[in-house]
């Protein structure tokens, strides 16, 4: 058996069903071995999309996503997707072909040091030196990718190793994974802080979903009655319609969420990392609060904000141990009153489509089990603000890296994970152009992904910042020469239609949801529509700007 066959057999052994990739010279032995495998290979049209589709597949399914590319430019095209998975702690295994070992270090054709290039953006990486070690490397790569705080792992496979004939022996027995439980001391002190607190707020991050701690979080929240806020990635960890849900916090968070955090005397940070988009100016963040920080990754605790009670360990055990009844009724009532007083207003002047209202209606009609994959920009924030989620795996969004072009490949990955699910890609006219070629992938596999493209003929979020914080000095944000997206989509095999009047929104949503194959709704919105509220650069979350949009 050849090394490439070892690799494929090892991937089968890990339960891999789908690989997103693109072939080329150095990875050809693996593509040859895949012909005889039950693993399904999905041919994307750019390697970046392979990595992002694997990311979307992993986020939606909870399994490890796998992507593959050849050496050189194939490998470097994966890098953005690998970095995206790293920043959002997504379990992905990336396999790259490499030139033969005798050519490595000679600047050979399509040789690049992808091991070195990806060092800062992988959880771990392997350069395969012998075919015999491949089964163990693959097993280790999957274990590392999904254990503790998940992340991407790279396997770089030289072509001669892939072609080497060797025997296959591997026994994975006894190589399980254990995530440490929190210490009794840390739990005891955290409980003491909880019981002394009068104004606690739970700050819920993406780690909760990754730890499969959704049920434990719900029990913790409902036992303690602590109002909670969510980060972008934490949305849906408990239903966004839960009575105690104050909404997303941070730069574009709900006012009630930010005010509650700012007034709190105890912040229970659960699987979050005090990201600057969530905290605003760090030294003005939750200024009166002590912190209990629950995280599986001890390196996150105390990295940006001192935690009076650090609780390192798996979140399921930590949340179970901290669920206790508290007497905080006046604070709970105050938070709910703030929430009631600051509900979204969907009335907007004019007759153009109002994106928040479109998304609210789409969310109501698409049902609680739909999956939404966003790109990055204003539309991403509108989705976070106005879509309803009951599980974080429904909301695929590039939180840490902020990768424009993430949404369409991620939607493709999610659709392969759940072929019967309603999968929606919400994008903008800037982002869609970053991976537009993947319309061809939708057509090839007849994926019924529903693309909602908000088009304001501008790089909207950058335009908004230039308007608000750069004295309206607009620099390189005009996209008024966009192609006709509906025509482009049609030429690539999608059904498409244009929506530019508010009165047509309900009909457009019906058409979108009824489509059997890939479909694009090209939705024209006002160029000066902004995302509100916003916390300006260098400001604390107490200083939210709000304004009626056009």
């Amino acid at each position: 058996m050849k090394g490439a066959q070892f690799l494929v057999k090892a991937l089968e052994r890990e339960g891999v069903e789908v690989i997103f990739g693109y072939p080329g010279g150095a990875i050809m032995p693996v593509y040859d071995a895949l012909i005889d495998s039950k693993i399904r290979h999905i041919l994307v049209r750019h390697e970046q999309a392979a990595a992002l589709a694997a990311d979307g597949y992993a986020r939606a399914s909870g399994k490890v996503g796998v992507c593959m590319a050849t050496s050189g430019p194939g490998a470097t095209n994966l890098v953005t997707g690998i970095a995206n998975a790293y920043m959002d702690s997504v379990p992905v295994v990336a396999i790259t072909g490499q030139v033969a070992t005798n050519l490595m270090g000679t600047d050979a054709f399509q040789e690049v040091d992808i091991f070195g290039i990806t060092l800062p953006v992988v959880k771990h990486s392997f350069l395969v030196r012998t075919a015999a070690e491949l089964p163990e490397i693959v097993h280790e790569a999957f274990r590392i990718a999904r254990s503790g705080r998940p992340g991407p792992v790279l396997i770089d496979l030289p072509k001669d190793i892939a072609n080497t004939v060797a025997g296959y022996e591997f026994d994975a027995n006894g190589k399980g994974e254990v995530t440490a439980a929190p210490s009794n001391e840390s739990i005891a002190y955290a409980l003491e802080l909880l019981r002394k607190s009068e104004r606690p707020v739970a700050y819920v991050g993406g780690g909760v979903g990754m730890a499969n701690a959704l049920a434990e979080l719900k029990t913790f929240i409902e036992t303690t009655s602590i109002p909670f806020v969510a980060t972008l990635k934490g949305l849906g960890s408990i239903s966004t319609k839960h009575e105690l849900a104050l909404g997303m916090m941070g730069m574009h968070g709900m006012k009630a969420a930010n005010h509650a955090v700012q007034e709190s005397d105890l912040l229970i940070c659960i699987g979050a990392r005090f990201d600057d988009r969530a905290t605003g100016r760090l030294n003005g963040f939750a200024p009166h609060a002590k912190v209990i920080h629950l995280d599986v990754d001890a390196a996150e605790i105390g990295k940006l904000r001192h935690a009076e009670a650090p609780v390192a360990g798996n979140l399921r055990d930590s949340l179970k141990a901290l669920a206790c009844q508290l007497n905080i009724e006046p604070w709970r009532r105050k938070c709910l009153a703030m929430k009631e007083a600051t509900q979204w207003d969907y009335d907007a002047p004019g007759s153009q489509v109002y994106a928040p209202d479109f998304l609210r209606r789409l969310s109501e009609r698409a049902g609680e089990n739909c999956i939404v994959a966003c790109d990055v920009g204003q539309h991403q924030m509108w989705v976070a603000q106005h879509f309803h989620f009951t599980n974080p795996a429904q909301h695929l969004t590039s939180g840490g890296l902020g990768t424009m072009g993430f949404g369409l490949p991620a939607a493709i990955g999610a659709q392969f994970a759940f072929p019967d699910a309603t999968v929606i890609n919400v994008s903008g006219d800037g982002s869609i152009m970053m991976n537009l070629q993947e319309f061809a992938t939708l057509r090839r596999y007849e994926l019924p992904v529903k693309v909602v493209l908000f088009d304001n003929s501008a790089l909207g979020m950058v335009r908004q910042w230039q308007e608000l914080f750069h004295d309206r000095r607009y620099s390189e944000v005009d996209l008024s020469d966009n192609p006709d997206f509906a025509l482009v989509a049609q030429s690539m095999g999608l059904t498409s239609f244009r929506v530019d009047r508010r009165q047509d929104v309900d009909g457009a949503i019906d058409q979108l949801l009824a489509a059997r194959g890939p479909v694009l709704a090209h939705v024209i919105i006002h160029q000066e529509a902004n995302v509100w509220p916003i916390v300006g650069p260098g400001k604390s979350n107490s200083e939210m700007m709000d304004e009626v949009t056009l």
């Binding site: 091991f115 070195g116 060092l119 990486s125 392997f126 990295k303 390192a312």
Partner: protein, 92 residues
């Protein structure tokens, strides 16, 4: 500015030392000294490193502790605080 002297036991695998140094640089710790010696069986590297930074030492210690190749890491100087020891043991 904090100056720290660290000791690590690192698996002698592809790129392990580069990975340690890369994390040190990215976390904004300046390298003043580094030495690495293979153990007699060649399986590990014994690494000693002196770094300087505005940031607290435990933030680097915990980042290094979670690297797959790092099996032990401790701060030699200044003496580990109780908190550093706790973070190191949890991250290892």
């Amino acid at each position: 500015m904090n100056t720290l002297k660290l000791r690590m036991r690192v698996r002698h695998s592809e790129g392990a030392l580069v990975r340690v140094l890369s994390v040190t640089r990215r976390r904004r710790f300046d390298l003043l000294h580094v030495s690495a010696d293979a153990t007699p069986d060649g399986a590990f590297l014994e690494v000693q490193m002196t770094v300087q930074a505005e940031r607290a030492g435990h933030t680097l210690l915990s980042q290094l502790a979670k690297l797959e190749d790092v099996s032990e890491v401790e701060i030699l100087e200044p003496a580990e605080t109780e908190r550093d020891a706790q973070v190191a043991s949890l991250g290892a």
